[in-house]
Subunit: 607 residues, 2 copies
């Protein structure tokens, strides 16, 4: 018989007692912070605390009778193992016959019952969907209580790290200049009050940075813009003297992060309010809804104007980004040399290789942090989309097959992201063919010419076509935007061939930077991904409108040991040779060690 | 001083008298028939009658004080000339400061006035837009009167030509089989009454054809489908004995075309009603709206299910289409030979060349009519999108430059559409380069491999990229669907890189046929277009989903005199050679004359 997990059971009992006290019949715990950040800090791991499952996606629903946990196919086995003996039932998302959470609640909740959740960790779209689906059952929502507060006694504190100021020189535009443009947009929408919830938008706009989300240099915050005020809601302990005096100087009024809701409650709106539903949590939305309705003004859901301003990098940002990418590229090139020349000679694991690369990056000037946890995946591990090697659980790298390394850093001057798949020994002809097609796709997209107005949907096929010609697809997008000393994933632009409802299809615009990362993933065998970051640039201008193209930002050699020229067109070979010539021209001056420079010469030779 | 156009002025006076009698302050006359067909018969040329301007796009608005005519940039000069002395003011659409029709009406109409138009020649979207824009001014609409009836005494009659029946053998599926699928769709939408207004949908569904619209083998008609009835509203004089006995046999109840509105008025709806707003004229929509509201049932605007059924050709249709395209291709090939070998030797004009080709096509078995008026455009004329050579107004073809011929026929067995640009003498290197890039684009799109779910927006860039690489764009879509013994333009699929609001972005599906027609248009110099029709086919099926590709239907040589291999990739050259080998293999057996076969051998040689 399965052994009981008393720790979890006791926690659930305590939670149920609080639920009874609060009059909550069902309590839901998802995976998110208050800002729908890509990574959640330990403070937010409520679901993990109450069921034991710690995968990156899961929602726990608890009633007096039952506890159920929903996760996706990546985590079925892990969740079953981690929830053994807890009595929590696993609901396998998207499996036939398995209800969604809202279906489950609709089927199980009785008329007049109450569903509770912390409305700050639920997106507005999910909240509205639940509200709509459960309205027929006259279910009440109670969304202003985080029940974990009472039960989880040794809970980690909310992340709270010092904020810091980026100089106007580094940012290219001052806070005031940026704010003026956002206020113009507010006027265009006919609004006089604008709430910003998206952390990277707030950081970009204020030229501030923080350290509250793993790998994202952002501070937990909200911002409110009116015609004559700019309020920044941040944790007081994060506001250093430097930040305080900067805020005083530029006209940012500081408020306590926890006072947002009481601030909104206390506001009498005299004009329409601008917000972006995609980025606003459900409690904030409900609070704004109530207050604007009371004041008889409109609550306008529009794309946060900061997003596009942030996406189109200014000249200073671009100049710094280009430099940072060269240094980052040179460092990765040295790492590739190190891997290829040491594999089989010194002990090397996926984890130790990642540590090596991370420490090399950390030594670069202006290094702040990794832009995401380095993916170092050997052979078949590289076929898993969410593989993460740990010190205790990683493969040894032997002189055969390939190592896929996807990595990047955030520096004063830019945030990088790059993937190379490194040949460390014998590889099959099939691998060479697929590797070559991947490289062809990356380079073909990078040399595209397209008219202004094109979106990622128009150009995606250029990267996929060489693989689709072989009957192979990579089941992820081709590209995402990247922040400036900010998050490694940002919008609105992206490169995909299909868009799910709600996904934004935004035109590619000059100054945007975007990844170009086709791949091949053969389960249990190998994985290939080649990722360059490219910058959208203007190309000529004639009677047909403005043409755009891409310039490479990444200059790291592509492993010629895996290239099979027989499937390449003459223009593919030329593109690879041209790219490699540029890699050598730009990177070799940054490489101090002669024999690595010599190796690079050979690694970027014309074929 | 400008001479007065008394004829038009008298007509306008007569119209104004009727307007006064009917209590109509502004009367609007657009360019359309009752079904928004591509071509309008003379009966519908009301705007032409009242202002003299006979271009393909124009809307006339008349009040007691003023008459204004709106048209687009293609027609500014022609409209000015044709409307001289009529007192009708030209409104140049899209020019700065020029109001749209609804803006004009909003600015000029007085509160409580009445706007009139024939609600059968206005689309629902335009009607609703006017209604909305003018509602603030409390303007009434009077849409059930065609005022031209009283004034235009020598008006041509409504087109009325015999309908005919296509055999089930030719159609692959019987009317009953098709109807069963449409009824299933009606059920899916929860509807019990479905009005069809789109002529080609009605024709395809019933396996009937007509001859009421130029180049479209369709009869003026409406259809109503209920759970147990199929009503066809057609002009009694069109219903031959053959059609009547067919209708009796398959269960089609015939009604008079002009009784649709009284039929709807007399119907008591007991279930929800399905219609497609895109294809329904405003009077029909308003009548349906009123009646469904009265009956307290829903009027559901959904895509007409017949459209997609019609677009995905069945096996019989495809088999016939493939054959018809071969015969049509062989005929065009013989025409190309004739042009190239006779230019400079016999008198040849754009018009006489078109007549030659038309008569060659007419001699083919099963020929019904041209699928559109043949475009025969020499040199600079080919740069004009809407050029039409007439006997009195056409260029002589000399042995220099190129002749663009865009043409097709409707046969028992399929409808064709094909463009070739024929070298008839010296051409510049620039022309050769642009011609080659056009061919590369056509062939690259045709050999695309793509996953099911892709739309024309995903693949369009494959055709455009070789031209975009040269900084050139063609300012039209890359492809449109084509009917089966039906209209040369049909949806829902199309290949474009951008979509205007309301344009349908439909996935490409097996059995669809679509054109692939890139081009280059250099004003006052030359025009190039190469158009093949391709069929969407399945390609393999693996772990990544269903791949699709295209098979050529058109097999006509591409003029090697205009090919510059220096800009072609090795795969482009291979694609052209492979295509030409297939052209020779498939077409040469259909060409009886030895020296033309020998010429074809040379014209399709490997390069």
């Amino acid at each position: 018989m399965e052994q009981e997990n008393k720790v979890i059971k006791d926690r659930l009992s305590a939670l149920r007692a609080v639920m009874a006290k609060e009059g909550i019949d069902y309590y839901m715990m998802p995976t998110s912070d208050f800002h729908n950040s890509e990574y959640s800090a330990d403070f937010f791991k409520v679901r993990e605390y109450f069921c034991g499952f710690d995968g990156s996606n899961g929602t726990l629903v608890v009633s007096q009778e039952e506890a159920g946990m929903w996760t996706d196919g990546r985590y079925f086995i892990q969740a079953e193992n981690q929830m053994k003996g807890t009595g929590v039932k696993l609901y396998k998302m998207l499996e036939p016959g398995v209800p969604t959470i809202s279906e489950y609640l609709k089927a199980n909740m009785k008329e007049g019952q109450t569903l509770g959740f912390d409305g700050r960790v639920i997106s507005t779209s999910i909240g509205e969907d639940l509200e709509k689906k459960l309205s027929a059952k006259k279910v009440s929502l109670k969304i202003d209580k985080d029940l974990a507060e009472e039960v989880w006694t040794d809970r980690p504190t909310l992340p709270c790290h010092d904020m810091y100021v980026l100089s106007d020189e580094l940012c290219g535009k001052s806070f005031k200049e940026k704010l003026a443009v956002v206020r113009e947009k507010m006027n265009e929408y006919g609004t006089t009050f604008h709430l910003l919830s998206k952390l990277d938008d707030i950081m970009w706009l204020t030229n501030l940075r923080g350290n509250d989300v793993e790998c994202n240099p952002v501070a937990l915050s909200y911002a409110v813009i009116t015609a004559d005020e700019f309020l920044l809601f941040a944790q007081p302990d994060e506001v250093t003297d430097e930040v305080k005096s900067y805020c005083d100087k530029v006209g940012i009024t500081l408020k306590d992060y926890h006072e947002l809701f009481s601030y909104i409650e206390g506001t009498s709106f005299t004009g329409d309010v601008l917000f972006d539903k995609r980025n606003t949590n459900f409690l904030t939305f409900k609070t704004l809804s109530k207050k604007t309705k009371e004041a008889a003004v409109s609550l306008k859901n529009e794309k946060d104007p900061t997003e596009l301003l942030k996406a189109c990098k200014n000249e200073t940002e671009l100049r710094n980004i280009r430099e940072v990418y060269l240094r980052d590229s040179a460092k990765l090139t040295e790492f590739i040399y190190w891997v290829k020349n040491n594999v089989g000679k010194i002990p090397m694991t996926e984890y130790s290789a990642a540590m090596k690369l991370d420490s090399m990056r950390a030594a670069l000037p202006g290094f702040i942090e990794l832009s995401f946890p380095t993916i170092s995946a050997y052979k078949a591990n590289a076929a898993m989309a969410h593989y993460e090697a740990t010190e205790d659980n990683c493969s040894e790298i032997k002189p055969e097959g390939m190592l896929l390394v996807d990595s990047g850093g955030t520096y004063l001057g830019g945030t990088t992201d790059v993937t190379r798949t490194i040949v460390v020994g014998h590889i099959s002809d099939e691998i060479k063919r697929n590797y070559t097609a991947t490289v062809m796709g990356m380079l073909r997209l990078a040399k595209a010419n397209f008219l202004e107005g094109c979106t990622g949907k128009n150009v995606d096929i250029l990267a996929r076509q060489p693989l689709w010609d072989l009957g192979i697809d990579y089941q992820h997008g081709t590209g995402h935007g990247i922040g400036y000393v900010l998050n490694v994933h940002e919008g609105p632009q992206n490169i995909r061939w299909r868009f799910t409802p709600g996904q934004n299809e935004a035109p590619l615009m000059p100054g945007m930077i975007v990844s170009d990362e086709p791949g091949v993933y053969i389960q249990d065998e190998y994985g290939i991904r080649i990722e360059n970051i490219v910058e959208v640039v203007k190309r000529g201008n004639g009677r047909y409108g403005q043409f755009l193209g891409f310039d490479h930002l990444t200059y790291v050699p592509i492993d010629l040991e895996a290239i099979d020229t027989s499937i390449m067109d003459s223009s593919d070979i030329k593109a690879l040779n041209d790219y490699h010539a540029e890699v050598y021209r730009r990177i070799s001056p940054l490489i101090q060690i002669t024999y690595i420079r010599e190796w690079l010469k050979e690694a970027t030779r014309s074929i």
